[in-house]
């Protein structure tokens, strides 16, 4: 595991807030030279700690009023069943995240839709028709917050 000091922590926190800042601007805030900041960012990226960059778009302004989490239980198990399901679910554009889980469900999906009728369409036409789908539980998201975590 990567050696991780307090300065790395501060750099990471700053980039989670705003990944578009340049190494120079970030360094000035943290009292570090541009090249030292850049080297640290590169090290964090190479070590896989910074896994990428994500744009957070305003769903409502883009016309997506509904986010639903689905718990999916497969009806048929076995390796082929999992692979078929995974291949098909990846191709559904409304499915934003897919997590394979252990517990009450096999998969957790995050789905966006324009409104509830649109969600119903996605559910019937795109989710319930996926290979191997058994029981599906839906929970409509009301609010969400992301925290910095142990940084």
């Amino acid at each position: 595991m990567i050696q991780f000091d307090d300065m790395d922590r501060r750099i990471l926190r700053a980039l989670v807030e705003d990944a578009s800042q340049t190494a120079g601007a970030l360094g000035r805030v943290l009292g570090l030279s541009q090249s030292a900041t850049w080297r640290r960012i590169k090290r964090l990226t190479d070590a896989g700690v910074i896994a990428g960059r994500r744009l957070e778009l305003d769903k409502e302004q883009l016309g997506f009023g509904v986010t639903v989490f689905l718990g999916v239980k497969l009806a048929t198990k076995g390796r082929v069943g999992l692979e078929d399901f995974e291949r098909a679910v990846r191709a559904v554009p409304e499915v934003q995240t897919i997590q394979h889980v252990l517990g009450l469900y096999d998969y957790r999906l995050r789905v966006v839709a324009r409104d509830l009728p649109d969600f119903e369409r996605v559910l019937r036409r795109r989710i319930m028709t996926l290979p191997g789908v058994g029981n599906v539980e839906a929970n409509v998201m009301l609010s969400e917050e992301r925290l910095a975590g142990p940084l």
Binding site: L55, Q96, Q99, E145, G149, L151
Partner: protein, 151 residues
């Protein structure tokens, strides 16, 4: 109002947030000045709400991720507020979502290993107020995580 050009720009930026102004303009087949002006406006109108670095907790030694689905005692008038406020104070909680459905709140919790998770669960999670039921889903793998909107 957003038009097709805005959506096109957002589509490219969403799939590659690190694109320079020149690269973005080239892909969207727009003059650089036009593309930059539009992106500027999308940021100002908060259609682009944030641009964040994505942290891979595994690379920092957090091997365990658990989704805790919590049902709250709704006879307590401040159940949601009290619960969420207390959950925010647990540093290993990285996401909090509230729902309409069978589940009231979902917490995403990370831990270094199962022993660490057990400590967090016993001392932190079970001490949160107004819980009537709690159910855990252990993450095995994340198959898709970009959270892209189908714009």
């Amino acid at each position: 109002m957003l038009d097709d050009i805005d959506r096109r720009l957002l589509r490219y930026l969403q799939s590659d947030p690190g694109l320079s102004a020149v690269e973005l303009a080239e892909r969207a087949r727009l003059p650089v000045a036009t593309a930059s002006r539009r992106v500027e406006r999308l940021r100002k109108d908060r259609v682009i709400a944030a641009d964040r670095a994505v942290v891979d907790w595994r690379a920092l030694g957090y091997e365990v991720e658990v989704s805790l689905r919590v049902t709250l005692d709704k006879t307590a008038p401040r159940a949601f507020d009290d619960f969420i406020q207390a959950a925010r104070a647990l540093s290993e909680v990285v996401e909090i979502q509230t729902f309409l459905g069978q589940v009231d709140v979902r917490l995403s919790v990370i831990a270094r290993d199962m022993g660490h998770y057990q400590t967090i669960y016993r001392d932190g999670v079970l001490a949160l107020p107004h819980i009537t039921d709690i159910e855990a889903l252990m993450h095995v793998a994340t198959l898709k995580s970009e959270e892209a909107l189908p714009i």
